[in-house]
Symmetry: D2
Subunit: 337 residues, 4 copies
């Protein structure tokens, strides 16, 4: 951490600041310049709340040099994290494919989609039981019944299941019944929920918030990890920008960025990012080429009558074609799918 003091800071004031930092357990190097004094601060700056320093009338700027996250940081954990879920491994050489409908609607629907995506090569079945909807008047999901149907589809196909959690009240049941717990974009900074999930050992898929920076996203992963659960995978699903042609703007540069900053696996969800099913294929290919560890795709047996997000869902036969086209791209990048 670099602390730039104001030109007018007196010797006494500087000493007070240095003393305060030392009392807080930091090492301080004072660099007295002609125009201003600069402090080099070393120590456990990850756990240090630097904002309080900026309040001092003699401080001009506080600039962090190291990242504020630790457990999610590749510096302290150089090897890629690989998370095992049933037979699937997320984060290794094989690209994981999460597929299934936006929301579970009936036994017939979820079982049929599960079989189709399994046959086409998907490794994990997704399905929403509790749905975060902008309008209170939209379909809110089948809730517990949806979870049960999802479990049934798992039994019939052997695919591990992932579903989105909406409330800390549900952590216990999700921990017991699903294989991966999804935290949606709107809850990325629902810190109460993150803390509860940190107490479990269940793999967590943490979606990036609509207006969250990569650093904030990793800080939310850190919340879960700091609680004791290091089984976190990240999911880029588009950020909010001025462009309205796509629902959100898929930020594929987040893949190499996350790979550099962190050891956690990163998944890409082109369905939610664009909201347009004809964009799923080119952007899934693009995500694989950029180095994604997994792809999440919405598949519905009857998108036109889907209760939620049908416009972005592909049919099972389209999904099969996507899988066929992803395979050579994965190989060209030295990976499998």
């Amino acid at each position: 951490m670099i602390v730039v003091l104001k030109p007018q800071a007196s010797k006494e004031e500087i000493e007070k600041i240095v003393l305060r930092l030392k009392n807080d357990g930091m090492d301080v190097q004072v660099n007295t310049g002609v125009e201003c004094t600069v402090l080099g601060v070393l120590g456990d700056t990850v756990h240090y709340d630097s904002a309080t320093l900026e309040l001092n009338a003699n401080v001009d700027k506080v600039m962090r040099v190291s990242e504020p996250f630790k457990k999610a940081n590749r510096k302290f954990h150089p090897n890629d994290t690989v998370i095992s879920v049933g037979n699937a491994k997320i984060g290794g050489n094989k690209i994981a494919v999460f597929a299934g409908p936006c929301s579970v609607e009936s036994e017939e629907q979820i079982v049929s989609v599960a079989q189709d995506v399994k046959n086409a090569g998907a490794s994990i079945l997704r399905g929403g039981a509790f749905k975060p909807r902008t309008s209170p008047y939209s379909f809110q999901g089948m809730e517990f019944e949806g979870l049960e149907l999802l479990m049934e589809a798992r039994e019939k196909t052997g695919l591990p299941i992932i579903s989105e959690i909406m409330s800390p009240k549900h952590v216990e049941i999700f921990d017991k019944e699903v294989d991966i717990i999804q935290v949606g974009a709107r809850n990325m900074q629902n810190f109460d929920l993150l803390k509860e999930l940190g107490k479990t050992k269940k793999p967590i898929l943490l979606k990036r918030g609509l207006s969250s920076t990569i650093e904030e996203w990793l800080m939310s992963a850190e919340y879960i990890m700091a609680g004791g659960n290091e089984n976190v995978m990240l999911c880029e699903r588009g950020i909010r920008t001025f462009e309205t042609y796509t629902r959100n703007t898929l930020d594929l540069s987040a893949i190499p960025a996350v790979k550099k900053l962190s050891h956690l696996p990163i998944i890409v969800d082109p369905s939610h990012a664009t909201g347009l099913r004809w964009m799923v294929l080119p952007l899934a290919m693009s995500a694989v080429a950029a180095g994604a560890d997994g792809i999440m795709i919405e598949v519905h047996n009857d998108p036109e009558h889907a209760k939620c997000d049908g416009a972005q869902s592909v049919t099972p036969s389209m999904f099969k074609e996507i899988m066929e086209k992803l395979s050579p791209v994965a190989k060209a990048c030295g990976r499998e799918i």
Copy 2:
């Protein structure tokens, strides 16, 4: 709702769509053009999930004509909502002033700030007990102890109190102990929490999400209102943009927009919007002139040693000066403060 069909849509396909809409309880007017057919759809479109229509291969565009919110809509509730909290009224001619520290830190601190802001003319005391922090390693608030100190400050000053809720688990205690429950920007679309708050009758202050449109914000108010609690006030606190000079970009055009679209009171928080305390005065004046029903200002007795957001906190004497300067602006706009 206007449904534009694709040029190639056959008569049979059009009839199917019309039938579906009618079965869903809508009135449909078919407008057969030379190039394409346009359907005018009337009925309870607020409760209708139009996204499903877009999946139909014969539908080109679905355009909503009316707003998707109802209880928050000025059309159905032309008069301004005025919410009474203790002696304060929010939404009337008098501009309410919410003041206090970012977080409650000690009895001495909160009682002293409470007395100072009361003397300077504040109507409501704010203070955080549970704090949403980006980092798990930052101070997370005094929690229940903080709530109790806040209650003590209320007892000593008579000021009603507002504090932020972080979890649905705390709805009961907040409902019992605080006068206004604040929902923070990061929880604006924590729908589980909104539903729980809809079951109370407690006034709710709903902050705008960092990347939420005005419509999404009103839809979140609608969640609370649809549950039965119509005591909702909105709070603009800056949106996330590319500009980094200020922490967020205060969107004051949201004031006339909300006033036109809704009957709910709107408060402005220049402290969080800018993150810079020297901007609080000009932007508070600006907010009053734009028609805000209230102003929320962070006040701390010792900002340099504040445990949270000190850089944006004003001292009690600065707050007094702000109040003195707001008064003539309010009068110039035909209001009081």
Copy 3:
């Protein structure tokens, strides 16, 4: 400027970097720490291209401490700049009002609007002759004929005129014929045009680009000033964000920011910022309360048949009402209008 070196940087490498900086005319203070070395760099960093330093494999971060603009910087020019245009002064205690139609359409139109806005208290007549339109098929302005009609309206009313320049080819004629040359948002970084304008002595109104930071905006002012023309005023007209309710998002925090960073006058254009004429009054009041030195308002005698931007234009009688309501707000802020 602070240069943080990488932990592995060898003594020799550090010496090379220091030497390079010294050769470039800088003073360098070396701060050797336990973990890394930090260089404090002093000198004419405004004119120094720090990006080249970041390429060095031993450099971790380069952090600027001082602003990259000099002539526009309040540090080196503490007093407010006041620009005289005819009888009007821009930047002093009196708030300047720029009013007139988006585009000049006929002699009758521009003369009639000019007389109306003059009577209501406007100080400067605006009118577009060359129009920057998104579509090549939209009305592109009356061009030179429009300029002549504007000059005629000046003759009849005595109001100084401002008009937007679109091409460096027109600098000579604009310099000769108009009183203030406007650079539109889309041309804020048309550096070729800025350089040409720097060669004149004509007052320039520089609109903020749709996605320009405050710093970039001041750097564009610096382009004009570095060329020798210090008569620059800035105009905030909304930035592009995700919100679509208003055409752009008016960033009123730019007013106190510019006032702190620079000595140049700042004008606010609520008409272009919002695109909605019913928002002009509250946001003009808001801008005045935030400390704007001027307001620019689109006024058209027949907005419904305007050839351009009618939706945001107020009528002369609405303009009169706006002026009447701005006056007490200006007074409440210790200013006149």
Copy 4:
């Protein structure tokens, strides 16, 4: 175009609007509903300025159904445009590679880089002679001398050359001397420049503006095409968002979007988009997999001492490696590079 009238619109008012539209050459279908009347407007809506309609007090909303661009529109030109430049073809099955330094700095530099990129498989040499720099104090390019050195490098290698134009004054010389004229992001809506370029027949590479929507970008292409020059290729180079880890956010969903909306070729520039040279490889691979027709990469023989944008430049040997890795990805997508 759909025009939704307000519920209170009288029969006479509606007739007036219909008459006005018919006078403007439109076909109008009146759809009289119970709540409101909707007009379906057909005809040359591309050339129609619908904004004027919104001013009418009886009009609620005007919604465009068709795109406002025509010559750039795939609807009217279903086949991909292929642009020939020397031996290179841009827009066909072979992916074009534009490579070279940000700015031309010396004969030695540009000739050596040109030979290296040619040997590695580049099809076009890029090099800036006139540089758009945020600061007037930064290196502004070698200008005409730079152009001449670029021509020399072409002579020595046979590679066609592309360079950025900054001023309409230079159209004649660029038209004569370079093979492709680049319009930079900051000039995407410099309509005066676009019009001048529309008068030539020279291939134009039009970069997307930092905050331009895909539609606005295509409208800028339309400006050039409407002038008579249909040799336009588009270049995605990142948009401005709240994320600061990368310089801009590369929007790869723009590739399938442009492919659907237009027949023009689309190039991707990962160097400028990210500003980080270690991101060039993964994002170039990603762009190819998303369907880009070309890739633009900054290559410098000595990035550490580059006069401009060195941090994003790769060395010739890194470029060679990139080309080797792009080849199998292109093949996996059924293309060549």
